[in-house]
Symmetry: C2
Subunit: 451 residues, 2 copies
């Protein structure tokens, strides 16, 4: 392990907006009522105007406000690390670098967007944020950000995680958030789901519906999402912008850029600043890694779909498994989302980024090798990126090529040790949805506008 630090003064002062460099335009989000492209006013009940502007901005660089920069400096710039221990174990001629986002107080890349989202809300007089969380990474990040900027935060936490991850709950409580198990009795949609099925274990789609309903029905409250949206991906580009400066210090440039994908934000955060180079002619291989259990990019369809189960969000063009798809309960809870960020879906569709899917056990194998050789116990989500990097490094070995691999280690696994427990005990299994399950999931997009 060899670390490359940036000084605080070298932290990027603007985010990078890939919309400015795309050769083809992504399909616009639609108002589900009218079927017409969305206007800023459609989003106004949910988001502050500054974020809506970012969502639709064509500007290449968007300045990071001073108070956001100051808050990000709690943990940024994050280190770039050369995984010399892993290289040695794999006997690869490749150089493996990773950007380590687990250094944030919440333990992942999520505060990179929670902090600016809280800031812009506070600037526009919002008092309270409603949001959802799956595994708890996003909810704890939003709790932290709310604490920093003096906002109340209510988190709808997917029931299965609420019960399995009490420590993520305590973390959110430590940062002053209110947490409820979703589906909850606190919203109309939650009550409806519970009436139909009191034992429903929840899903990200349901929790989003609850948080959106909460925000849409209270004047003092806006909604916040931890992935998928353009402004979220924008905020995460600080990862790739830092990485570029650090790779320059290291004296090399990546041939392959890898990240795991759930909603797409950590991958996009690292990849988009490099994708700009590829659009401009550079030869870089981009690999988005997802779980076979929730194979949005590798087995989903590109279609207009809702972001949530209750059909409360706009319709967005994206790879999707259908907004009612219930992925199996794998330990990479952050990757269990039916859709994929529209901007990332667009560049996958354009052939700029390739998608790969891996099974749960082989992902934990890679995570375990990493823990032994680099010391860091990765989040199960991030272990997908590690598995991608391990395979790329083995390819390089077999081809005898000195490739430079760069991946995003989006978070640590300190709150996922029960999954490692199960792994060490040999109790983990793989899950792949059948073709029938996928077809059933996708059937919900049939009546919607076509791409």
């Amino acid at each position: 392990m060899k670390k490359i630090f940036l000084s605080e003064n070298d932290m990027p002062k603007s985010w990078y907006n890939i919309a400015a460099d795309l050769k083809t335009e992504p399909l616009p989000p639609l108002n589900p009522g009218t079927g017409q492209p969305l206007g800023p006013e459609d989003l106004a009940p949910l988001f502050p105007m500054a974020l809506i502007e970012q969502e639709m901005s064509p500007q290449r660089e968007i300045a990071i406000p001073e108070p956001v920069q100051a808050a990000l400096k709690m943990y940024r710039p994050s280190p770039l690390i050369r995984a010399t221990g892993l290289e040695k174990a794999l006997k690869t001629p490749a150089k493996i670098y990773f950007k380590y986002e687990g250094v944030s107080p919440a333990g992942s890349h999520k505060p990179n967007t929670a902090i600016p989202q809280a800031y812009y809300n506070q600037q526009e007089g919002v008092k309270r944020i409603a949001t959802e969380t799956g595994a708890g990474q996003w909810g704890s990040s939003m709790a932290l950000a709310g604490q920093i900027f003096g906002l109340d935060v209510k988190v709808y936490m997917v029931k299965v995680s609420y019960n399995q991850k009490p420590y993520r709950r305590s973390m959110m409580q430590s940062w002053g958030a209110e947490i409820v198990s979703s589906p909850s009795p606190d919203t109309n949609f939650g009550r409806q789901v519970l009436a139909e099925d009191p034992d429903n274990t929840g899903s990200l789609g349901i929790a989003i519906s609850e948080a959106v309903e909460d925000a849409a029905t209270r004047d003092d409250t806006k909604y916040a999402l931890g992935s998928v949206l353009n402004h979220v991906l924008l905020h995460q580009t600080i990862i790739g912008l830092e990485a570029k400066k650090q790779m320059e210090i290291a004296g090399c440039s990546p041939d392959i850029v890898i990240g795991c994908v759930g909603g797409g934000s950590n991958f996009a955060g690292l990849a988009f600043p490099y994708l700009r180079d590829k659009i401009n002619g550079a030869d870089i291989d981009f690999r988005a890694i997802e779980p076979t259990a929730c194979p949005t990019l590798t087995r989903g369809a590109f279609a207009y779909d809702f972001g949530d189960t209750a059909q409360m969000t706009p319709l967005v063009s994206m790879y999707t498994l259908g907004h009612t798809f219930m992925p199996p309960g794998i330990h990479a809870g952050g990757l269990r989302y039916h859709g994929m960020a529209p901007l990332l879906s667009h560049v996958v569709r354009e052939g700029l980024v390739d998608a790969y899917a891996y099974d749960q056990v082989e992902v934990f194998d890679a995570g375990a090798i990493f823990a032994r050789t680099e010391g860091i116990i990765p989040a199960p989500e991030s272990a997908h990126a590690i598995k991608g990097a391990v395979d790329a490094a083995i390819e390089a070995r077999e081809a005898g090529e000195e490739q430079v691999i760069l991946f995003n280690l989006s978070g640590h696994g300190h709150f996922d040790m029960s999954a490692y427990d199960a792994y060490h005990a040999g109790e983990l299994t793989d899950y792949r949805p059948t073709d029938e399950e996928l077809a059933k999931g996708l059937s919900v997009t049939e009546g919607l506008p076509k791409v």
Copy 2:
């Protein structure tokens, strides 16, 4: 929060040995059989010769071997951080700085000594390390270090923690260690304790006895201790040596230096390089903070005592509650030790360092304020140091003095969230041993050599 980083090149290249600067000599450790001062040969069954030499060295500076430096650079230099959020919340004119040791893969300062201990053992052909752990911080650090230098590690983990902290166990497993609940059926002493009391929940004293027995009875195995010993404190001085460089960059120098104390190593690590300045005339106030539940410095006696329950270790002169003392089950498991490092005990006795004790709930109050204002959720052990810093900052406010406070944040609380759960639920209570309990504990030192 404002961070001050050191570059890897500025990481100290030697440790600081306070023995070279003490005006009075500490009392020597004794062979319990002969009552005579210990020679190197007495320790040879347990430790490699390089560590025995360090234990007894009068040299001021001891070089850090290159491979140890390389391994420490996994996470070092650790950041020095100015707690601007906490300062603001306390409305204090004091500047509060802390050294953050939670950045290590194990989450605490413990790898600072686990890494060199593993290295010296490996250099002398040792294949296997036996050690004990209370809350799991030390065991996981030794597991990590064993992994780095190719040693097998067996950890005797105090039963109450073994059952309460399964995630620390998984962490040790991830780093390849073998873990057993102590008292265990794997040693004579463990079997004896279990025969007398099958429900014995264990103590650090018992676990040390088991690990020492394991090491003393196997040719391929040595013993490793995570605190108390001179060479452990020596290795931890890298904290204070880095802090001095970083405080210089910050343009100031501490008036008050604070750390929590269990065995004494994290406190000594930060404090000893500054204590040298005090010995040479500087006006610095040193505060060692312990729990009222295990009040070794504030209510114990300075005496010759054993380091372990089974009386297998040498006799050392230290503040002690008696080697059979069973501290109540507070959440700061790392501070539940009956003794205190002889070197630290010596400087407390000489009046160079003052001791303070705090109750459990007020310590968690301080930890909770810190989590809200600085974002980092502290280990319950480290929250004692925070409480010390908070009180010092309030004193400064009341006196209207711009004091500079420096404390050691020895670890994060990611594996202690159940304690925060109990705290948020209002379920934590305070425990103070009665005078009778303390007198009973100390009675075991009566037949031993006098100081």
